[in-house]
């Protein structure tokens, strides 16, 4: 026996990397950091490198010193104002030894799954949140996974968890955000479907052969599902 309601699952993979800021913010942050550098106090190298030592000499050799003030020269673009080896009109650029600078090799943000357009992979679109969509062969309709609630179910989130394990196997680590349903979806057959939010943390979703599935972001979901269905879940994504 089952209850006259269903439980749905909004299983999401949170973004792996922070999204790139908007073009305006990028330009704004750059400008602000330049202003900050211009207003920064001079680095007291005399405090960190003792006078006459080898380290001090090495450090000084690497620096591009400012142009010194000279009474015999007319500086048309303003006289240099040098204190502690820095022209106080401009920002100070400290050059460190090439070995001392950390060599960071950044991983590419476009992954293998992106190039292959493998929608079953969890490694795609690492800037965005992905959601699990399934297509049962018996129904042939893309939607969020939804399950029947047995009569003896203790709670909605247990029913959702059991449904997920029976559909996609046991080899995934998930976390329920809240026991309270995030929304209720209304369908034509008048059986309300309560959505429980979950995050996938580790592992993969491995269903049977008769279930198609995809990890999609918001824009892709819009193309896959019905218009009415998308309108109902749009706010939650």
């Amino acid at each position: 026996m089952v209850k006259p309601l269903r439980v749905g699952l909004l299983l999401s993979r949170t973004p792996i990397i922070t999204p790139k800021p908007a073009p305006f913010l990028q330009a704004y942050y750059k400008y602000m950091s330049e202003l900050e550098k211009r207003l920064m106090w001079t680095f007291p190298s005399f405090f960190f490198f003792k006078k006459g030592t080898l380290t001090q000499r090495k450090f000084n050799e690497l620096q591009k010193g400012p142009i010194a003030r000279n009474k015999n020269i007319i500086f048309a673009q303003g006289e240099p104002d040098v204190h502690f080896n820095r022209d106080r009109r401009f920002k100070q650029e400290i050059i460190l030894e090439p070995d001392e600078q950390e060599k960071v090799r950044e991983q590419p943000t476009v992954t293998e799954a992106d190039t292959k357009n493998d929608i079953k992979s969890l490694e795609r679109k690492i800037e965005q949140t992905l959601y699990l969509l399934v297509n049962l062969k018996s129904e042939n309709k893309w939607k969020l996974p939804s399950f029947e609630v047995p009569d003896n179910a203790r709670s909605l989130h247990y029913a959702a968890d059991n449904g997920l394990r029976s559909l996609g196997g046991d080899s995934m680590n998930t976390w329920t955000v809240s026991y309270t349903p995030a929304a209720v979806l209304k369908s034509k057959d008048n059986v309300p479907e309560f959505l429980i939010k979950k995050h996938i943390l580790q592992g993969v979703f491995q269903p049977d052969a008769n279930v198609e599935f995809a990890w999609l972001c918001k824009n892709e979901i819009k193309e896959k599902v019905d218009e009415d269905y998308f309108k109902q879940i749009e706010v939650l994504l």
């Binding site: 305006f24 330009a27 704004y28 330049e34 202003l35 303003g78 009109r89």
Partner: protein, 344 residues
């Protein structure tokens, strides 16, 4: 003409960045050459301009669907305030205040700076509720005594007697009126600090009353010649050792506009501002206060006005401080000496 020319070059520099020859707003070639702009300003500015223009367009669209003309005017004014050209004109005070956008910027400046000062002085010096019960500020009042090197005075300032002898110049900027219109005002100056020795209290005196004073944001200075002055200006003549006197300026908007009823009003000897305001349907929109006390110029001022010599007060000695409100008594020094002689 030259202003327009230089300003167009400056506005070009605002949009396209400071040229290699230096910023056109700087006067000397030397300072133009030495000038260095902050780095990476231009890309940030270009992106910022996109956002500001988009927001402006959105607000203009919203203004088209506005319900009333007043709301529409406000939205149009708001949509342009962040435009760099408008900001520059406001910065150099090259503005036409009958334009709603510049009016809005002026109003915001007033609300941020002068209005809180004015309200603070009026409250701390008890102009409210001593003269009128309260004030909801809607206009800015500035006062100036026409003397070389003397600008508008601060509210609550002590003013020397010979300076405040002449009729003050009053500027009224009413921000609650629609842009481009003018209002009619009644201006009253009252002094609630005239010592009343008989009752051990103070009397209120009317120093100035003018009605049908027309003022707009573009022409804020009140022209006394074109308005009807019911009582010509009488300067404060404080007496020696008496407490300082507050000269409270009240600007009241005539809700019915120009009024001939007010013009022909005859003043009774004891003027009551509260009843006058309620009778004539006036709305107090702004106030100002300055203070004066006896100083070395007072005798000369009295002489010029043809007044008799002022009284000299001494501290009243009462058993308990609360027994006296005035804390002064009229007792010329020489009288005491005379009494001594007579007694002998």
């Amino acid at each position: 003409m030259s202003l327009r020319n230089s300003s167009s070059r400056i506005i070009k520099a605002i949009y396209e960045g400071v040229p290699a020859t230096g910023p056109p707003s700087l006067r000397t070639r030397w300072s133009r050459l030495r000038y260095k702009s902050p780095e990476h300003m231009q890309p940030a500015f270009e992106e910022a301009l996109k956002i500001i223009n988009k927001d402006s367009e959105n607000q203009k669209l919203a203004a088209q669907n506005a319900s009333s003309s007043q709301v529409r005017e406000e939205l149009y004014a708001k949509s342009d305030i962040y435009n760099p050209e408008v900001q520059y004109n406001d910065f150099v005070n090259y503005v036409d205040l009958s334009n709603p956008t510049y009016k809005l910027l002026a109003k915001r400046r007033w609300l941020r700076r002068s209005m809180p000062t004015m309200m603070q002085r009026i409250e701390q010096l008890h102009v409210i509720p001593d003269t009128l019960p309260t004030l909801m500020p809607e206009a800015e009042t500035k006062i100036k005594f026409l003397l070389p090197k003397l600008d508008f005075i601060d509210p609550g300032a002590w003013v020397r007697n010979d300076i405040c002898m002449r009729t003050p110049q009053i500027s009224i900027s009413d921000f609650s009126l629609p842009a481009g219109t003018s209002g009619h005002y009644t201006v009253a100056i009252v002094n609630p600090d005239i010592p009343d020795l008989e009752n051990d209290s103070f009397n209120t005196d009317l120093h100035f009353l003018a009605t049908n004073v027309e003022a707009s944001l573009a022409n804020p200075i009140a022209n006394w010649a074109k308005s009807s002055v019911l009582k010509p200006y009488m300067p404060p003549v404080p007496e020696k050792n008496a407490p300082g006197q507050r000269m409270c300026v009240w600007v009241m908007r005539q809700e019915n506009g120009h009024s001939s009823n007010l013009e022909n009003k005859e003043l009774v000897s004891e003027f009551d501002l509260r009843s006058f305001v309620s009778e004539q349907n006036l709305r107090p929109v702004s106030a100002f206060v300055w203070r004066s006390k006896w100083d070395y110029t007072s005798p000369a001022v009295r002489e010029k006005l043809g007044l008799p010599r002022g009284r000299v007060f001494y501290r009243a000695r009462t058993e308990f401080a609360e027994d006296s409100v005035l804390h002064i008594t009229e007792r010329p020094k020489w009288q005491k000496v005379d009494e001594l002689y007579h007694n002998e």
